[in-house]
């Protein structure tokens, strides 16, 4: 029986294969395959680069503003037409001193406010995603592994939460929580409330995925093997099952962040987000509702900030999903 010619190990003696380039056979972990795929996905990488840039902007906001802008709450009434209330310079007062122009009426520097707004937006979105992923993973894995009444209960709660008019409930909750809580006050309380509430309404999305995956995985031989060796429930759940759930959890986390950014902006737009004077993008758009006919740039600048951020996260998230998809060929 002759081996097919494209199998070098079978057709050639061992001393010839030794001279071939070293790349012939290489063990690749799933993580490495995903990384190699992601590295070839130009669009996803561009999205990732913008994400990294935005995170840097948020972290170094004070530095960037001190170099390129003015303090976010400083008023520049000299930039405002006293009769119209709009910026004196065209296009919303964009100039070398004010890179994104100024706010109508009080003349605050829009560049500084957008940069500081990135902090609120990203911090709330990231931490809310963390809350959602922790809760969703915990409940999903428990429901999927134990089944029975535990599964029925968790599944019904998830159905209920998904059927809720979430935004209304979030607004309602945020509006009844007072501004100072247990000795804390200011925008920190609001942000904490936003994180907890957005995260809480986000967990069923993760929970459903994790539950479904766990249902499929718990019948696999390696779980059976661990059980027969006397492994405890905790060990099986978090040492055997959890590592195999990392891929779907990663995908949902990256895709949840842009949704959270939109939710936070929507809440701020409706007046249920962080309180002024802390700048946030949704709040700026909400202020623009009444004046954008006279000064459209005041609406376009924060709107574009949200759009670019969410788009970058979506592009990166889609790339991560494709890279981690075992069925994918790219």
């Amino acid at each position: 029986m002759s081996a097919p010619p494209h199998e070098p190990g079978a057709t050639a003696p061992a001393d010839i294969t030794a001279d071939l380039p070293a790349k012939a056979i290489e063990g690749r972990s799933p993580g490495r395959i995903a990384w190699l795929r992601l590295r070839r996905d130009k669009v996803a990488l561009a999205g990732g680069a913008v994400v990294v840039l935005l995170i840097l902007v948020a972290v170094f906001a004070p530095l960037i503003v001190s170099l390129l802008g003015h303090p976010p709450d400083q008023l520049h009434e000299d930039q405002i037409d006293p009769n119209l209330g709009t910026p004196i310079h065209p296009f919303g007062g964009i100039s070398r001193r004010f890179l994104f122009g100024v706010e109508p009426v009080n003349g605050r520097d829009l560049f500084s406010r957008v940069v500081y707004g990135a902090r609120v937006s990203l911090l709330v979105a990231f931490l809310a995603a963390v809350v959602a992923v922790l809760l969703g993973t915990l409940f999903g894995i428990v429901a999927g592994y134990f089944g029975g009444w535990v599964d029925a209960l968790v599944s019904r709660v998830m159905d209920l939460l998904l059927a809720f008019p979430q935004l209304l409930f979030i607004i309602a909750l945020v509006s009844v929580v007072p501004n100072s809580l247990w000795g804390f006050s200011g925008s920190g309380v609001r942000m904490a409330v936003l994180i907890v509430v957005i995260g809480f309404f986000g967990w069923p999305y993760v929970g459903r995925i994790v539950r479904g995956q766990t249902l499929a995985l718990r019948e696999r031989e390696y779980v059976e093997a661990a059980r027969s060796l006397g492994a405890g429930r905790g060990y099986i759940l978090f040492r055997e099952l959890l590592p195999n759930l990392i891929a779907p959890i990663t995908v949902y986390t990256t895709l949840m962040i842009p949704t959270n950014i939109l939710t936070e902006a929507a809440l701020s737009f409706l007046g249920a987000g962080v309180k002024p004077p802390t700048p946030s993008w949704g709040q700026m758009l909400s202020a623009a509702v009444t004046v954008f006919q006279a000064d459209p740039m005041f609406m376009i600048i924060p709107g574009l900030a949200i759009f670019v951020t969410v788009l970058a996260f979506n592009l990166f998230g889609d790339g991560v999903r494709d890279a981690l998809d075992p069925k994918g060929t790219r």
Binding site: A163, P165, I171, S175, A266, F269, I306
Partner: protein
């Protein structure tokens, strides 16, 4: 079929009870836990202690929370009387209480605002389903073509744009600059054409976001289904391609689309709030937003419950549609 409907209706009632319980909890327990006083909230910011005490007695806020909840549910079903000494106010069923801003009963306000939000939601929903599914199917059939890439890029932009930003852009261009369309609400019964004209811009704006999501979903599902064995079998037995697409592939594609539709109806309420705020439409969402800034809790409670009711009812309709679309689903 009848047994299924009865069981589902029981489930709807249970869901609604849970929703009322949660909503009630938010407004009556959270202020307590965090040291606030519901009566003080209801009375407004400048009320004196005597007025607060009076309100507390009249609204029965001095009773245990469970009793208050029971009275509230009873009021929804059978109406209730608010009594403060000799001063008795009767609130007919379904009683959602009184607004603390306007001192008007909440229910007529909800009835008045409901058609606006309903018109907005139903029009946008039809538009996004038609446009989203059609775009997704065409993209899947012409995978990799210029159309596919353009449609998917537009869809990606669509899911990344906040509704209120698209709304303001649309207003700036189509209403203020070009003067093509103005946004207003005219009741359907009064003039269907004016109704559609006045809501066209909000419909497009609200539908754009969801059409983008549904186009992405439909395309992905359709591509997966076109790779299935039974599609190959259908082609192999000589069925014409349009028949394969319509009867076999499209039908299977619609099932996951319906699943997501059921889940998105809750989010649609949020979308309607944002759209109404952007276009100044006097719907339930606007009422809720104003009530929130006024701390007018009974109105928020009413809107939340009405919204939850319709999300749950619409989910029931979606589940019934399953059986129509997918012959594998039996309602039992």
């Amino acid at each position: 079929m009848l047994a299924y409907l009865v069981r589902r209706l029981v489930a709807v009632v249970v869901m609604l009870l849970v929703v009322t319980l949660v909503t009630f909890g938010i407004f009556f327990l959270v202020p307590k836990l965090t040291g606030g006083d519901p009566a003080a909230l209801f009375a407004g910011r400048q009320a004196d202690p005597a007025a607060i005490a009076g309100i507390r007695r009249k609204l029965g806020l001095d009773a245990p929370v469970i009793v208050q909840y029971a009275r509230f549910i009873w009021g929804l079903v059978a109406g209730r009387d608010y009594a403060s000494g000799a001063d008795v106010t009767h609130c007919a069923a379904p009683c959602f209480g009184y607004s603390f801003k306007t001192e008007q009963p909440v229910w007529p306000l909800l009835i008045d605002r409901f058609p606006v939000t309903f018109s907005l939601a139903i029009g946008a929903c039809v538009l996004w389903l038609v446009v989203g599914v059609a775009t997704g199917v065409l993209s899947a059939l012409r995978r990799g073509s210029l159309w596919d890439r353009a449609a998917m890029a537009t869809a990606l932009a669509g899911v990344s744009l906040p509704i209120y930003f698209t709304g303001m852009l649309a207003l700036a261009v189509f209403t203020y600059k070009l003067h093509w369309l103005t946004v207003s609400y005219v009741p359907f019964t009064q003039n269907p054409l004016a109704w559609a004209r006045g809501l066209l811009l909000p419909w497009i704006v609200l539908a754009f976001l969801y059409a983008a999501m549904y186009a992405r979903l439909t395309r992905a599902t359709m591509l997966e289904i076109l790779g299935e064995d039974y599609i190959r079998t259908a082609r192999a037995k000589g069925l014409a391609e349009p028949v394969v697409i319509r009867r076999h592939a499209l039908r299977a594609t619609l099932t996951p689309v319906l699943t997501i539709l059921g889940m998105d109806l809750g989010a649609l309420v949020g979308g309607a709030i944002l759209t109404e705020t952007t276009f100044s439409l006097q719907g339930l969402g606007q009422a809720a937003v104003r009530a929130i800034s006024d701390q007018d809790l009974p109105v928020i409670l009413g809107v939340t419950m009405i919204a939850a009711f319709f999300v749950i009812a619409a989910n029931l309709v979606v589940d019934l549609l399953y059986a129509v679309v997918d012959p594998r689903v039996r309602l039992a």
